[in-house]
């Protein structure tokens, strides 16, 4: 059984006919060929590698059907940098060695981006709790926490306004 959907991904409207059972993560990766979003568990929704934003809210795309995104706005890691300019989170992750293999990174950043809009001046403990839904095996999280903290500082210093999901 298929359905016509229209999903805006990173600002571009995509009209596709998809099986109703198609997961959003598979729509993003296999239909739209945006492979920056990863899948690391068997759809338990535990690992967080598939995290994208739906109307600006971090969601696990393996726990959603593509048809549920019909008429909605999705932002993936590919949509974070604006006109080639890296988001402060992306810059900070590089500066603070917040990634090694990179497999958890897209989901980690998409979650962190929403978090910083909601909590622009987080404590270390708040950052760690916000990232419970993103498992990393390589870094031990310390570089990630330092990166999120540094990005928060840069963003509040710059007076970056909260972005709505786009």
């Amino acid at each position: 059984m298929t359905r016509e959907i229209s999903v805006t991904v990173n600002g571009t409207v995509h009209r596709k006919s998809v099986p109703v059972r198609l997961l959003l993560v598979d729509f993003i990766r296999d239909v739209l060929e945006l492979t920056g979003t990863h899948q690391a568990c068997t759809y338990e929704g535990v690992c967080g590698a598939c995290t994208v934003q739906l109307n600006g809210e971090a969601v696990k795309s393996c726990m959603m059907l593509a048809v549920q995104a019909d008429g909605q706005q999705v932002t993936t890691i590919e949509g974070l940098a604006k006109d080639g300019a890296l988001h402060p989170l992306q810059k900070a992750f590089k500066e603070h060695h917040g990634l090694q293999c990179g497999f958890c990174t897209s989901g980690m950043i998409m979650n962190a981006e929403e978090f910083l809009r909601v909590n622009p001046r987080p404590t270390e403990e708040e950052i760690r709790h916000a990232l419970i839904g993103n498992i990393c095996r390589c870094t031990g999280y310390q570089g990630i926490v330092a990166a999120v903290s540094a990005a928060a500082e840069e963003m509040s210093a710059a007076g970056t306004p909260a972005r709505s999901g786009s």
Binding site: R21, E78, T105, C138
Partner: protein, 801 residues
């Protein structure tokens, strides 16, 4: 762009890999679009732990639209050569159970592949898997390795006639007479010792679980040959095996590890069933075939390691000097069907490292690896050594308590001070300064000051504690050890090519999975050739364009591969010097020339002689009037061989606060002191340490593979197999106490492999130290509040009774 005053080696140069990984442009296996419309393979896996296969009905599955083929073990038994084969089996005296990629006649663990379903897309393949009907006739379960050793135990492999897959005494010598004499000597030491600590320790079944699971894509064409892309640590070894198993000439097999891999930590090193099935299927069907492992498969079929019992004894004098050690190690090997490692190589190696950094010349150590109805042990970071580290470091704390001395002092007095040395099992420690690393740690934490704080806290009803763990860990294994043991070389290798514009490409046959080789190898080449790392591109993991390489595992990147890169860069440098000297009528002594800031300088000239770009152009594009012996080649392949294993050393300290009423504990502080030789990139070394410590903590506290009384695996998802999250991980402080390694051209060692090893010991020692007034000793992992609470209750009962 990082500017560096002193050179690229040692710089905190931000990683080259990061830009693409941060913007979603990484190319992991599942992202590759290297073949058109691959067929998708899914496996039907055994739902029982030990059974004969009575029947398999694939008819409903085969008829599902979109299903192209459904194969069982019976379909492949006469078509695929089973393991073991020469390239997949070590030269050690053990048992290597015959096995095919799919179960033939019987299944031996819950999750063993039984049927391969091939379909046009993964949703159809999954549907078809559900339609396959397998009937089983249960066989007696073999779940306990000690029981499985009994002569009347049911057998996992009846054709082998025993469940003991490997058994060896590692001390005393190679002959029975030598071993008996050694045992007698050790017995005498124990009989005469002032103090004997004797206990049984258990390091539970857990592993590494990288975020990216396994996978393989294969295509076959009679003219082009076999082409395989797979998430692997050892593409050259995979190529060997595919060639051998499927009778395809090696030069018609190309294996590529993707440029990006989502971690491995050892689990992607063996030769497993599934990729072999993928290769067979592509040959059979004449179409490209893809398999991406699910997390559930990963947790059931691989990723299970540790799982060792250590019956460990220490003999010591009244001062705490250790005089002798006995350890009878029993490893739960699982079904043991795994190419190259067969489950037991890890516990074998771990048993060989039991003496750790302590001076214990008289040891009696044996290892027995026993088959059970579980998944075969697969390599995991710390490679078999974690339970032994835990056991000995716990025993040392017990010794300290027995003689009334501080555990820190007992450790220091027993650390090896003379290096190089051979430990009692014959493992060679090549260089380093363990005491310096240790002293740096204790200086930082000020043990006497802590003991005072501890007393004050106790008086206030707060229980804080300090625990230590140490580890000597290998970075790579030399050919001298690997050839007799595995029939494989261990050298590091790299090809460097400079082009006519003066930029460099490094070809490395290893296959990194997050270690940052594109950065570190570029730093090395850049420093030696006077360039910026941006001028160096590193290409990895493709057997077509890289020299034979052992793979990226065991921390050999920093010791072996890096050395080969340095050697190749130096060789090219020397070639350039010859031509520059000739062109400028100077003596061709490399020591007179400096490669810096993309130019070449001479000691006697104020101005640069030439830029590197122009000399490369001159040599390659205008090779006229070259000096005798020189040609237009600025390419070099180097092999770094070392007789020495280049051990690294870590000493860890954990501070905890424990609550005796609940057993809960909290890590207050965790510090690691490391010797990795000369550091190429401190950022990357620190990342390896932090990641390794948190893996060790996650192993110790949260992770556990559990099989129930029916052999059913209960931990087949991340909901049940819990991994540490950011909220669970402490900050890790790192101290460096580096002694350059004398055996590598740059003085480097590798770092990363052994880091989780000392962690459970440090943590549990800290908890026992905190709760010392209550008299508990932790002997078993995992360590959790409920278990600590149970120990507290048992201690209370003992005190009362």
């Amino acid at each position: 762009m990082t500017t560096v005053e002193k050179g690229w080696i040692g710089a905190r140069y931000r990683r080259r890999e990061d830009l693409r990984l941060l913007t979603g442009k990484g190319q992991y296996l599942a992202d590759l679009r290297v073949v058109r419309d691959p067929l998708v393979v899914k496996f039907v896996r055994s739902s029982v732990a030990h059974a004969k296969i009575s029947s398999i009905d694939v008819s409903a599955a085969a008829q599902l639209p979109g299903v192209v083929a459904v194969l069982t073990g019976a379909d492949i038994r006469d078509k695929i050569r089973p393991l073991p084969t020469p390239s997949t089996v070590p030269l050690l005296p053990g048992h290597y159970p015959t096995h095919w990629p799919l179960a033939v006649d019987r299944v031996k663990f819950h999750g063993e592949p039984v049927v391969a379903v091939v379909a046009t897309d993964k949703y159809t393949a999954e549907d078809a898997v559900e339609l396959v009907r397998v009937e089983y006739e249960d066989l007696p379960l073999i779940m306990n390795p000690e029981k499985a050793m009994a002569p009347d135990s049911p057998l996992v492999h009846p054709d082998i006639g025993t469940n003991v897959m490997f058994n060896m005494v590692l001390t005393g010598g190679l002959t029975e007479a030598e071993q008996s004499a050694n045992k007698a000597r050790v017995d005498a030491i124990f009989a005469n010792a002032d103090v004997v600590i004797k206990d049984r320790f258990y390091g539970h079944r857990c592993g590494v679980t990288p975020m990216e699971t396994r996978g393989a894509v294969a295509s076959w064409d009679a003219e082009a040959g076999l082409r395989v892309w797979m998430s692997t640590q050892r593409p050259h070894i995979d190529r060997l095996v595919f060639s051998e198993l499927f009778d395809i000439p090696q030069n018609q097999v190309q294996v590529s590890a993707p440029r990006d891999q989502g971690g491995a930590f050892g689990v992607k090193a063996p030769v497993y069933r599934e990729p072999l099935m993928i290769v067979y299927l592509t040959k059979l069907l004449g179409r490209p075939v893809q398999w991406i492992e699910t997390r559930e498969e990963h947790l059931m079929a691989v990723s299970q390691e540790r799982d060792q019992i250590h019956e460990l004894e220490l003999a010591a004098d009244k001062q705490g000097q250790i005089l002798g050690l006995r350890d009878r190690v029993i490893a739960d090997n699982g079904d043991s069907c795994e190419g190259v490692f067969w489950g037991f190589i890890m516990p074998f190696y771990g048993a060989a490292l039991v003496p750790n950094a302590y001076h214990i010349p008289d040891c009696d150590i044996s290892i027995t690896a026993v088959a059970t109805n579980k998944s075969a042990l697969s390599p995991a970071r710390a490679f078999g050594s974690l339970p032994g580290r835990f056991a000995l470091d716990r025993a040392i704390d017990m010794l300290a308590r027995r003689i009334g001395k501080d555990a820190a002092d007992v450790r220091r007095m027993n650390l090896i001070t003379q290096l190089p040395c051979n430990i009692a099992t014959g493992v060679h420690y090549d260089s380093g300064n363990f005491v310096a690393v240790w002293d740096k740690l204790v200086q930082e934490i000020d043990v006497p000051k802590f003991r005072k704080e501890q007393q004050v806290a106790r008086a206030q009803g707060r229980y804080i504690g300090l625990g230590f763990g140490v580890a000597v860990h290998a970075s790579g294994v030399a050919s001298e050890a690997l050839v007799p043991m595995e029939g494989q070389p261990g050298y590091g290798s790299a090809t460097l090519k400079m082009d006519s514009s003066g930029t460099v490409t490094v070809f490395e046959g290893d296959a990194p999975q997050g270690q940052g080789h594109e950065t570190t190898m570029a730093q090395i080449a850049a420093e030696i050739l006077g360039l910026h790392p941006e001028d160096v591109t590193v290409r990895v993991g493709d057997t077509n364009n890289t020299p034979f390489a052992s793979g990226t595992f065991g921390a050999r990147g920093g010791s072996y591969t890096a050395s080969a890169v340095a050697m190749a860069a130096k060789a090219i440098r020397d070639k350039i010097v010859k031509v520059v000297a000739h062109d400028n009528k100077l003596e061709a002594d490399p020591a007179h020339f400096r490669f810096e800031a993309k130019s070449i300088w001479h000691k006697d000239r104020a101005e640069a002689l030439t830029t590197i770009a122009s000399i490369c152009n001159r040599i390659i594009m205008k090779p006229l009037d070259l000096p005798p012996g020189a040609d237009a080649s600025l390419e070099h392949t180097a092999f770094f061989e070392a007789k020495e294993p280049m051990m690294a050393f870590s000493a860890h300290a954990a501070f905890v606060e424990a609550d005796p009423s609940s057993g809960e504990f909290k890590i207050l502080r965790y510090i690691s002191s490391e010797d990795v030789g000369r550091v190429i990139n401190p950022l990357i070394v620190e990342g390896q340490v932090r990641g390794g410590v948190v893996q060790g903590l996650s192993n110790a506290m949260f992770e556990e593979f559990i099989y129930d009384e029916n052999g059913q695996q209960l931990t087949t998802s991340m909901e049940n197999y819990m991994l540490a999250s950011a909220a669970d991980a402490p900050n890790i402080e790192i101290l460096h106490a580096d002694t350059p390694c004398e055996h590598t051209p740059l003085g480097t060692r590798g770092m990363g492999e052994g880091v989780p090893g000392p962690v459970p010991g440090a943590l549990c020692n800290a908890i026992c130290d905190a709760l010392e007034p209550f008299g508990i000793e932790i002997r078993d992992l995992p360590v959790r509040p409920d278990r600590v609470w149970a120990l507290l209750q048992a201690a209370k009962r003992r005190a009362a009774g």
